[in-house]
Amino acid sequence: MQLDKLYDLEEKIFELETRLEGKSQEVRSLANIATVITSILDIETVLSVAMENSIRQVGGEVGALLISENGVLTVKVAWGVDVSFVEKLKYKDNLDIARFCLKNKQSIIENDCSHIFPVDIPVHSFIAAPIPAKSAEAVIIIFNKENGKGFSVADRESLNMICRFTSISLDNTDLLNTQLEKQKMDQELSVAREVQATLLPSSMEFEGLQLASTYIPARQVSGDYYDFIPIDKNRILFLLGDVTNKGVPAALVMTSVHAIIHAYVNSKLPIRVTDIICQLNDILCNDVIKGREMFITLFMAFMDLKEGTMEYCNGGHPPPFYYRASKKLTQRLKPGGTLVGQFAGLPYRSTKIKIFPGDRIFTYSDGLIEAENRAGELYGLDRLEEFFKAGIMLDAKRFDNVVKEEIERFSVGSREESIDDFTTLVVDVLKEEKKKSFEFVYRSSLDNLQQLYLDLASVIDEYNIGEKLAKSLNVTISEAVTNSIIHAHKYDESKKVILKMSLNKKQLVADILDEGKCCSVSTIKDHDLNVGFLAEGGRGLGLIKKLSEEVIISLRPTGGLRVRIINILKDK
């Protein structure tokens, strides 16, 4: 009896050990599956590995993995069973197995299918489980337990576990792909930004004008566009436009606008702002925007500095401010037509005004007047006009800077989506700069050298000459004047040395004229610094030559010498 019990117990222990062994094998195998599945970062591979392992783990005959893409359920992996077969198996609530499973968000086991499916369908059992991924809706279905018995609770647990692993992997893969895609997009956008930046004018120099601008896209690329296109040395076309919306679509239209305008200018047709805007409008309507809800507002002006005129057309753009210095008046440059790119064939009118030195035109994109403050209040046109008037004494560059600072200050703490592309263009008509020329006369006495240095200091100041050139001018010109006093005039105080200085563009010319009796320049010209170490004199002309851009010595018609010393003024 006791022995029987003992046998019984032994058998039970054996049975338990076997079960334990089976369980731990199962756990090991699931752990392996988990490692494999979660290490894959390719959706197709994840799915087929999940399918294969599910079949093996629960011991099914055939199976399928279905995934819902854009609301349509399709078989992604079919394991020994054909697609149409899975889809036509209606289960409950008039739904097929997959849809039912997804709807109820739980796994199903059916071990007696005779009453569910038509008799000719060779399915006696199935197990199905949803894959609970955030990035996809998917189901694994496995048909017919191999041993013919039916699927067990343990099978359900295994399948659920595999589905969870799969969902982790799917979500990781999805995250990675999204990130990669974003990265790629970011890279492309930053290239686009560079391309767009090259479309903007590279030089802000035009003689007679001071130009300043700021261009800050709200996103990587912008729908704002400003340009100034010199036509010749007196005439310049400038414009500022704003394509509706922000980002890529706006930027694409902006590049078209740039191309159309430049093509027009390059075609050598007579420049008329209305012609350009009409052509731009027609091309945008018919070929670019084509009825999409997009358009551009644009201010374009054509300035002729020789004639002293500006012809402008405002295509629905917020009015630029124009300051007329002579009358101390500010006016808004109002529309000459509606926004551009929506109504083909529309006429545009231009206005031509006289412009004068000291006048300013300030053009901007709506990012300025639509800037919001913390309270959601708009900056607005009136405030901008007041700011424009207040800043009129600043030069163009400085004004451009303070406007930017003003808007930044205003919009501190505003909603992020309220920040728009920000573009400004300030055009100042400069006062004609007639740099005065100088003439000084010195008697031939060394006492006058002190006066010469003072005179040179005033020239250096007037022409805004840098320190290095200033020093060498002191040497070279005093050198030439000293030569005249000693050699040409031999200290004869009745004879005068004349110094004339003038600045033309960047070329500074100093003429030193004497009243000596020199009749040949050839002997003087050859002087250089090679006079030996211990010579006391003879270095003067050599120094002048060495320190100056060019030295020209010639005889004056009235007798005497003219020493012309030429230097190039460099920017400080």
Partner: protein
Amino acid sequence: MEIQVNEEGKTKILSLEGKLDLANAAKLKESVIALLNEGKTQIHLNMKQVDFINSSGLGALVSLMKEVRVHKGRLTLSDLAPYVNEIFEITQLSHVFEIYKTNDEALASYNTVMTD
């Protein structure tokens, strides 16, 4: 041109201030020649306050150097402003004159020579 004269051992130190041009060259020459005639033959010119020199100034210095040599003395310079130094370089006179960076270096050179 302002010329301030000091003495350090046997060396006369002339601190020059202003422009070394033809107008001022004569004054400098006179001052140095007066010292030479007193038997002071070690002459150091501190050029720290000289903001300008031209060929006339250079000519005066060359002339003085020759004068000092006749008296078997020494003439040294120090503290050349960058632009003045450049003029010495351009004219190659930097190879002829004994030029020191600082006053102290110049004076030390006299002491070194003395102990030799």
